[in-house]
């Protein structure tokens, strides 16, 4: 079915069949724009950009069907560096603009790139509503726990006590846990990864791309200028081993050296970190990302308030739920089928009319 401008109304965003650009042959370079990348040397954003560019050719979506939308922030410069369609919007509003694109044009694959300030402070409302509606968006939240672009104020993910330009005596605020917030907002796909994760990061991107509906990924991203080392507990040599809890579907949740530790659900209903040698593998919780009840995914998100101790990475939840754009399209189809395509002359003359001669 096409609308009257000739756009396909058919499901899009993955598994596109025809492509003008000859998809099979696309490479990473095809997704690199001609604009000079302008992040600080050493910024975690570079690795994320590289990862996104590297997985794009695999997705089978032609370049012209891809749109990157962002707000304002260091991270939000992202679209300029992608050789696809793109909108660098205004602060916090990327999910709204992207919702317009994705629901107007279900044939497109729409990505949102946002920061912890852009997405969770000023843009928090649009984010939670996009997740609730399950708009077909791939949302990448670059969480550096700081405002980079405005040169170092605390953000809604900065830890309590943080001294920044705007909190010289330390922040008195409890941060959001973005995974918990997304789950509380009914998100259907929720994952977490780290800028330096050379395999896990691209894998999460692929998973998000494959999900129909809103896919939310929190990416821990190092801002080496204003918040260097915020994720050391997960990226230092030691922390990397001890603190990364990889969630894998259908697998008992184990971590630390040789999976010596694990997670168990108590009868009283909360999660504990346990020594596998003490309790035995059978006692461990088996991760089920497809469980519709978000309760367990949420419980896992509470294991760490911030990336300081053992912290789960991977897909917390992936479930199917009607996609916003699909619902819209099927109403259009049904109406056209029921009532026939719109007839303007008939519309204008509807209701009581009378003739004057």
């Amino acid at each position: 079915m096409t609308d009257h401008n000739g756009h396909s109304l058919d499901e899009g965003g993955r598994g596109i069949t025809e492509a003008s650009g000859g998809i099979g042959t696309l490479t990473r370079e095809d997704f690199v724009s001609d604009q000079e990348v302008r992040w600080c040397p050493g910024c975690g954003d570079y690795a994320i950009l590289a990862a996104v560019q590297s997985i794009m050719p695999e997705l089978g979506v032609p370049r012209e069907k891809v749109v990157f939308v962002s707000g304002i922030g260091c991270s939000s410069r992202f679209p300029y560096y992608m050789n696809t369609y793109g909108v660098h919007g205004i602060h916090g509003r990327a999910p709204a603009i992207a919702t317009g694109i994705a629901s107007a044009r279900p044939d497109l694959q729409v990505w949102v790139v946002t920061g912890d300030g852009d997405g969770l402070s000023i843009g928090g409302n649009h984010l939670i509503h996009a997740l609730r509606r399950n708009v077909n968006l791939k949302i990448l939240l670059f969480n550096n726990q700081i405002y980079g672009l405005t040169k170092g104020q605390y953000s809604p993910t900065s830890e309590q006590g943080k001294v920044t330009k705007s909190t010289p005596f330390g922040s008195v605020e409890q941060p959001f846990n973005p995974i918990s917030l997304a789950l509380g907002a009914e998100a259907t796909f929720v994952a977490r990864t780290i800028d330096v994760e050379r395999k896990h990061l691209p894998e999460m991107l692929r998973r998000a791309a494959a999900h129909r509906g809103s896919a939310f990924i929190e990416i821990y991203q190092n801002c080496n200028i204003f918040n260097d080392g915020a994720f050391l507990a997960l990226t230092s040599k030691e922390g990397r081993t001890q603190n990364r809890i990889y969630l894998e579907h259908n697998r008992p949740i184990r971590f630390d050296r040789d999976g010596s530790k694990g997670i168990r659900m108590t009868g009283a209903g909360h999660l504990e970190l346990v020594d596998v040698s003490e309790v035995g593998e059978k006692e461990l919780l088996v991760h089920d990302e497809h469980r519709y009840d978000a309760g367990l995914a949420f419980a896992l998100s509470r294991l760490s308030a911030g990336p300081h101790g053992p912290t789960p990475l991977g897909v917390f939840r992936q479930v199917e739920r009607p996609v916003y754009g699909d619902g819209m399209e099927s109403q259009l189809r049904a109406a056209a089928a029921d009532q026939g395509p719109g007839d303007l002359a008939k519309l204008l003359s509807s209701g009581d009319t009378w003739d004057v001669d």
């Binding site: 749109v67 107007a104 002359a345 519309l347």
Partner: protein, 620 residues
């Protein structure tokens, strides 16, 4: 313009012919007065009268039954000739309870007719309305013709046998009132009977009760030999007509713009009085490929519409004042992105939440300047309910041709008011179809800001077009390539180009017309919903030989090219507005012409009698 005749005091055997009548229906919020008015309007329109209506909703929240705050009214002015206003003073007031009488009596012309539901004039209701004695018998209504009709009890009697419960039956008393009026002004019952059948298709007993009440009212009029009148059809241009409200005309105009531009319509909106009905209306036409999205707020609503515009849809957002405030920042982005977008503001009384159900014209300067930075955009204003259809099409035409957001400024009076509409022939509607960019425009490259030499519009390349991938954003960009640029000269150039793009539209809109006698030395200039009142008042003045002309601006930015020239022809320029002088300010700064402002911010249209006397004084 014939004077409205006070109905004769005695009951004539024959129908007396009247040139025009103003009727106001008033009752409790729950009494169904809007529906009654609507039906009366519908049959009057179908009968061929010219007409103008004005609903007057109560304050936002339903007030307790019987209270003054809960009174809801609907006024209709119908005639055998061309009229322009809903009328200042009703000649007939139908009041379903004491509060309705109290709230509206002041407006009724002396000698006018009061049709009162006596059943409701009990002690409690009188008290609630603040009457210390019963006006039915304290002599206070002596200067009116009072018809005392126990409508509630007669309705209850009449609906027996319909199968409706007593409470349901009682709720049909508005149809009884409609029946009475239908008798008095010889309006047919059939269309309403048919309408009721459809409306209550699923509740037959209620349909029956309503029909029974309607007939009973009519029969009562006949039996009681109430005054009976006739208002002949007006002579209108030949063609097919229907009645239309401003918001409906707006919705139709937007759909027409979608069809004529061959672009799917995308509405992002957040409910707000008095704009919500456009959303409600458009949400019904999914078979036209219309997408409506109720956003989480006004910022999201415009953001979504802008996203849709980026992807090749006719992006629209509708709101009222408070919502326009919230859209400011995204409007600036749309100006920077140079994408077509229609932002509709249906003005209401401000500032802040103000008078949400009342009309005002006080968002003009906000529409002009309500964004940081130099951020000009075109502004179009409908001037009557039916003209909203034109305004929607015109806004779309400008937005698409010049790649710019456009603000359409309607107001609560136009939005809810209704008038007969000469239905346009679809094949005479303008073709506003667009050509998306499909090819690189500089060698093998695509430059998103390479402008058309004439319109200064940039090309519109939409996602899905291979080879034209590009990025746009709110940072200043180099003209041509569209790449981010902090170059001082480029910023100067872009600022000038954005301004020039609005200016060139001057060449592409109708010139300002004025009408008036050749000797006219005074020009009355208006915009928006005051069109009818100013027109009627000027007619009256000219009929009395006063040297006055009038002009009405439909484009506020840019104004028509000849505006200065027209204004300068006159010795005096008077600008009546439902604000504190906003158009006046624009005219003064643009043309350095002295203006005289007539301002009114009472939440209501101008009273034509008052405007007449104010103008009278100002004409030398």
């Amino acid at each position: 313009m014939a004077a409205q005749a006070a109905p004769p005091a005695h009951i004539p055997a024959e129908r007396k012919e009247l040139p025009r009548v103003v009727v106001r229906f008033a009752g409790d919020s729950g009494d169904g007065m809007q529906l009654t008015g609507d039906r009366f309007t519908s049959v009057s329109a179908a009968f061929g009268n010219d007409l103008v209506t004005m609903p007057d909703f109560p304050a936002e929240i339903r007030a307790p039954a019987g209270s003054l705050a809960g009174v809801s009214a609907f006024q209709i002015h119908f005639s055998d000739h061309d009229i322009l206003t809903p009328g200042d003073q009703p000649g007939v007031l139908v009041a379903m309870n004491p509060a309705a009488l109290k709230a509206n009596l002041g407006d009724v012309m002396r000698g006018g007719m009061l049709i009162l539901n006596t059943d409701s004039f009990d002690k409690r209701n009188l008290e609630k309305a603040g009457f210390s004695s019963n006006p039915l018998d304290d002599g206070s209504l002596d200067s009116y013709q009072v018809y005392k009709i126990p409508m509630t009890s007669m309705t209850i009697d009449s609906v027996k046998g319909s199968g409706a419960s007593k409470k349901e039956g009682e709720r049909s008393k508005n149809m009884f009132a409609l029946g009475v009026l239908s008798w008095m002004y010889s309006r047919p019952l059939e269309p309403t009977i048919e309408y009721l059948g459809k409306k209550f298709a699923k509740k037959e007993s209620i349909a029956k009760a309503n029909v029974a009440a309607l007939k009973a009212g009519h029969a009562f009029g006949e039996t009681a030999e109430l005054s009976a009148f006739e208002v002949k059809p007006a002579t209108l241009a030949p063609g097919r007509y229907r009645r239309i409200t401003g918001n409906q005309a707006l919705a139709y105009g937007l759909i027409a713009a979608s069809v004529q531009s061959k672009l799917p319509l995308f509405l992002g909106s957040y409910p707000i009085t008095p704009a919500s009905d456009v959303l409600h209306e458009l949400a019904r036409y999914k078979n036209f490929g219309v997408r409506t999205l109720q956003a989480e707020d006004e910022i999201a609503a415009i953001g979504m519409a802008l996203g849709a515009a980026f992807s090749g849809h006719l992006g629209i957002t509708t709101t009222s004042g408070p919502g326009l405030d919230l859209k400011s920042e995204t409007l600036g982005l749309a100006i920077s992105l140079e994408l077509p977008l229609i932002v509709i503001d249906i003005q209401r009384g401000g500032p802040s939440t103000g008078l949400p159900t009342k009309t005002e014209q006080s968002d003009l300067l906000h529409a002009m300047y309500g964004r940081h930075g130099e951020a000009p955009l075109p502004i179009v204003a409908p001037y009557s309910p039916a003209s909203c259809f034109w305004a929607a099409l015109e806004s779309a035409r400008i937005a698409l041709k010049y790649m710019t957001p456009v603000i359409l400024l309607s107001d609560g009076y136009i939005a809810n008011g209704a008038e007969p509409w000469h239905i346009p022939s679809v094949d005479k509607l303008p073709d506003i179809s667009v050509r998306f960019a499909s090819q690189p425009n500089v060698g093998e490259d695509f430059w998103p800001y390479l402008r058309d030499g004439e319109t200064l519009a940039r090309p519109w390349a939409i996602p899905g077009t291979a080879g034209l991938e590009h990025r746009v954003g709110g940072l200043e960009k180099a003209d041509g390539t569209g790449n981010i640029s902090y170059d001082p000269d480029n910023h100067q150039l872009m600022t000038e180009l954005r301004q020039a793009k609005i200016k060139v539209i001057e060449e592409d809109i109708d010139p300002l017309e004025f009408d008036g006698s050749d000797d006219a030395r005074v020009l009355v200039v208006g915009w928006g919903g005051t069109y009818g009142t100013i027109g009627e008042v000027c007619r009256r003045l000219r009929a009395r030989g006063r040297p006055v002309a009038r002009a009405h601006l439909k484009h506020l930015n840019p104004m028509p090219k000849n505006t200065g020239e027209v204004l300068r022809r006159f010795e005096k320029v008077i600008v009546p507005e439902l604000n504190m002088g906003q158009l006046s300010k624009l005219i003064r700064s643009e043309f350095l012409i002295e203006t005289v402002s007539i301002n009114c911010v009472r939440g209501l249209p101008f009273s034509s009698t008052e405007l007449e006397s104010e103008l009278e004084e100002l004409i030398p």
